[in-house]
Amino acid sequence: MNKGKGKITKVSGPLIIAENIPGARMADVVRVGEQKLIGEIIEIRGKDASIQVYEETSGLGPEDPVETTGLPLSVELAPGLLGTIFDGIQRPLAAIEKESGAFIGRGIEVPALDRKKKWEFKATAQKGNKVKTGDILGTVQETSLIVHKIMVPEEVEGEITDIKSGNFTIEETVAEIQGAQQLHKINMIQKSPVRKRRPLKSKIAVSEPLITGQRIIDTLFTIGIGGTACIPGPFGSGKTVVQHQLAKWANVDIVVFVGCGERGNEMTDVLLEFPKLKDPKSGKPLMERTIMIANTSNMPIAAREASVYTGATIAEYYRDMGYNVALMADSTSRWAEALREMSGRLEEMPGEEGYPAYLGTRLAEFYERSGIGLCQASEERKGSLSIIGSVSPPGGDLSEPVVQNTLRVVKVFWGLDYKLAHKRHFPAINWLLSYSLYLNNIKKYLKEKVSPEFEGLRIETMQLLQRESELEEIVRLVGLESLSEHDQLIMLTTKSIREDFLYQSAFDPVDQYSTLSKQYLLLKTILFFHSLAKKALSEGKELSSIEKIRSRQLIAKARFIPEDEVEARIKELEEQIKSEFKSL
């Protein structure tokens, strides 16, 4: 009866063991039980295969059939990805809702992408062109914001013998390529195994900042385009808000947001909010550049493990078209826990805190999928993928394995601090703890595009903040009055740096995003005030009179100045500061 099928011998949560599956290969996708639940082979020993099942396994038992699909876990890549929300194994949640209602049933089979929809394909290559993997055959206007490039798939090379513009479904042939051995019929859909990196032809060094509009990030701890960053922090410290801010405002072309083992409502939030938000550059809805992968904490844990790879592969695909892509993974700790869970059930030797010994390797492999460089193609086409992962350490303890292994591979560290969060100082990124290793890479860019003084301001700011923490120690022991007036002035200035510059509300329509030039002007004003105040002190003026200067209050409100007025109003403010100091 079950010819061509193996059978289950053991079920333990999301892990099952099956024997004698004909054609079983490591990492291939299998169908489990009568409901044909989706699973993946993660270990083979003799006739036994261990399988992680991407759906709830309740009701499975020994003797139930298992058959292999003969294919590794893959994603479908074609027009129709943008604006869509998928689960961890790329099943569209909207289609699942249609099938099974508000609650996710099991054994639902829905194609990742619409097979019936016609897209307008515009051929850009011509008959007779010699093409190879990655070369662009034509384009499809996928959303009003993004042009989807139809590329020659992997392992195809040859001469175009036929190509036509027109309206096609993703499965209809749009071009034919005569290879050395065979004629390839090319349609608009590609399949790509998720666990395998889609390689760049060559990587180049990061040289531009990924502009996020978040002042503490862009000014102090910049991430580069094609770079990596991590945001560790205890619960409620602001990881998700930072990730959402980046997804909204980062100057990239495409955003892939992976909600990995986190809250359902957070995904709903994005779904409801992004269509209403406008891309600052084009004025188009942000949803048109966004792809979401949602495998929330209550969805099957094995699919959570897969979700980051599903996201990475889709992100790489758009990068290959020559786009700047950002991938946000919230939270990588939940992914690591899924790994630990499966490892435990496989009875592997546990490493630190029960995580498998290969945790570090897996994390490194994941972040290594980032980078900027030349895409696979005959032409010179640059694309990039930046990866930002949040980490949720138990008890906020940064010494735990996921944080430590992540820090080994990422170049930017935004350490969230619960003390700042409790004081409602947001983003609660601790400025003494955090770092960016891209500051040298982007020096030239900032100098040319923003101001030659930008770097100097940043260095001075960091020095002041460093000094503040030393002074705070003293104040705690002997009180503010014991400080010299100069040191008290430093405390006054750093307070302004913290409250009027680093503090940034994610919910205020103006404050939530600052251009680099606004960031520069705000910081410049604060430090300008500081320099005049220093001078005044050394000329014998009293600190208490400096404290009373009215323009201080204007500095405090400057972050609410709309972008188009910033330059003029900051200029006025500077004049006012000057004149107030004169009449001190």
């Binding site: 949560g13 699942i96 809702e97 508000a102 619960f235 409502n265 709903t268 949720s392 409790h422 409602r424």
Partner: protein, 459 residues
């Protein structure tokens, strides 16, 4: 079709091992007949070719090898549900214990439920007035939110939960409301306190109670919140009811989970709790929410007592990682005699910003609460400073903040157990307290808001 086995080969802690079974499915419900003829229930935790590992809800005392009979029921644990469950009391597995007859089921539902499709969710942005300033003003609760109370032994979390349950029932016309209450391992007195307060306020008619007391079987507790949430889902999404679910005490639930994990000899995570504690808790907490196109909602308030008041203990820690904020009770405030002893600094409602503002509460709500936080934080810093350096080290502004912090605790946080403040009263109280601070220190509120809402008589 239903076969009976007498092949129990091992009994260990809450688990039994049965051999030579056939056709058994993972997660299947099991009926266990004890040598005495009494029935117990269990579920299949693991199944291999002919051996099933079973977790027994009512515990394994009295079971033996040889006489104990095992029957597999061919389905997972289900409970009968009906609208008429309101006003009734059940045990931790959903069996009536109030002496009244069994309910007439409208349906039978799997207690594990199914995950809500994130695409089908509607965002919880409907403000719920609890009448408690430290919640409504600073950490507002929204319909469909999951907001736990982190408490400690001896703190008045039950009182607070009961007050919320009572006062939150103020509703728009034509909406129905229910409280689903799940007790896990709490004392008889605590359970009695809740029932009494429900009775007193008349809430009992709209309440469904699931009671597993400290003296009841510990493993049963693993099922109790699932049973309660299944009932809540039925009332919310099939009967258009706004349901408030109170789960207390989650710490006891987690202990039971740890017991099972230890008996299975699993690799333990932090402090011996299983590595899957996060996921297990998420399966419960994520059942809260709203669904597009449905009138009802599930708002969940889990209560947990933090061992040694330690917020980094795995139970509060993992809960905080799943829920949409947390209300933390402070032993210090409790000692000062302040009720509710809400530790507002580390407390947080993440859905606050979307549930308040013009049209929902009032336009100034968000800025005002930020300002109150900032001012209170500063006042507490000053208080700490004073402890080290004495009052002499404080300047005038410091002293104003110190006084603000004291009055804030005394007037804003403190309120009576039946003091039900409207959100507007709460907001005005906030402005009144802020009025004693220097204007230039109020950086989080806009000038226009000060002009409009700050009491005029103050300078």
């Amino acid at each position: 079709m239903q076969k009976e086995y007498r092949s129990v080969t091992e009994i260990s802690g809450p688990l039994i091992l049965v051999n030579q079974v056939e056709g058994v499915k993972y997660d299947e419900l099991v009926e266990i007949e004890m040598p005495s003829g009494k029935l117990r229930s269990g579920k299949v935790l693991e199944i291999s070719t002919d051996t099933a590992l079973i977790q027994v809800f009512e515990g394994t005392e009295g079971l033996d090898i040889g006489l104990t009979k095992i029957r597999f029921k061919g389905k997972s644990l289900e409970i009968p549900v009906a609208k008429e469950m309101m006003g009734r009391v059940f045990n931790g597995l959903g069996k009536p214990i109030d002496g009244a007859p069994d309910i007439l089921p409208e349906k039978s539902l799997d207690i594990n439920g199914e995950p809500i499709n994130p695409y089908a969710r509607d965002y919880p942005n409907d403000f719920i007035q609890t009448g408690i300033s430290s919640i409504d003003g600073l950490n507002t609760l929204s319909r469909g939110q999951k907001l736990p109370i982190f408490s400690g032994a001896g703190l008045p979390h039950s009182q607070l939960a009961a007050q919320i349950a009572h006062q939150a029932t103020v509703l728009k016309k034509g909406e129905s409301f229910a409280v689903v209450f799940a007790a896990m391992g709490i004392t008889f007195e605590e359970a009695e306190f809740f029932m009494e307060s429900f009775r007193e306020t008349g809430a009992i008619e709209n309440a469904v109670l699931f009671i597993n007391l400290a003296s009841d079987p510990a493993i049963e507790r693993i099922a109790t919140p699932r049973v309660a949430l299944t009932c809540a889902e039925f009332l919310a999404f099939e009967k258009d009811t706004h349901v408030l679910v109170i789960l207390t005490d989650m710490t006891n639930y987690c202990e039971s989970l740890r017991e099972v994990s230890a008996a299975r000899k699993e690799v333990p995570g932090r402090r011996g709790y299983p590595g899957y504690l996060y996921t297990d808790l998420a399966m419960l907490y994520e059942r809260a929410g709203r669904i597009k196109g449905k009138k009802g909602s599930i708002t969940t308030i889990p209560i947990l007592t933090m061992p040694e008041d330690d917020k980094t203990h795995p139970i509060p820690d993992l809960t905080g990682y799943i829920t949409e904020g947390q209300l933390i009770l402070s032993r210090e405030l409790h000692r000062k005699g302040i009720y509710p002893p809400m530790d507002v600094m580390p407390s947080l409602s993440r859905l606050k910003d979307k549930g308040i503002g013009a049209h929902k509460t009032r336009e100034d709500h968000s800025d005002l609460s930020n300002q109150l936080f900032a001012a209170y934080a500063r006042g507490r810093d000053v208080r700490e400073l004073m402890v080290v350096l004495g009052e002499g080290a404080l300047n005038d502004v410091d002293k104003q903040f110190l006084r603000f912090a004291d009055e804030f605790e005394d007037q804003y946080i403190r309120q009576g157990v039946s003091d039900n403040r409207t959100v507007f009263e709460t907001l005005d109280l906030g402005w009144k307290l802020l009025a004693q601070l220097p204007r230039e220190e109020l950086k989080r509120v806009k000038q226009s808001e000060i002009d409009k809402y700050m009491p005029k008589e103050s300078k």
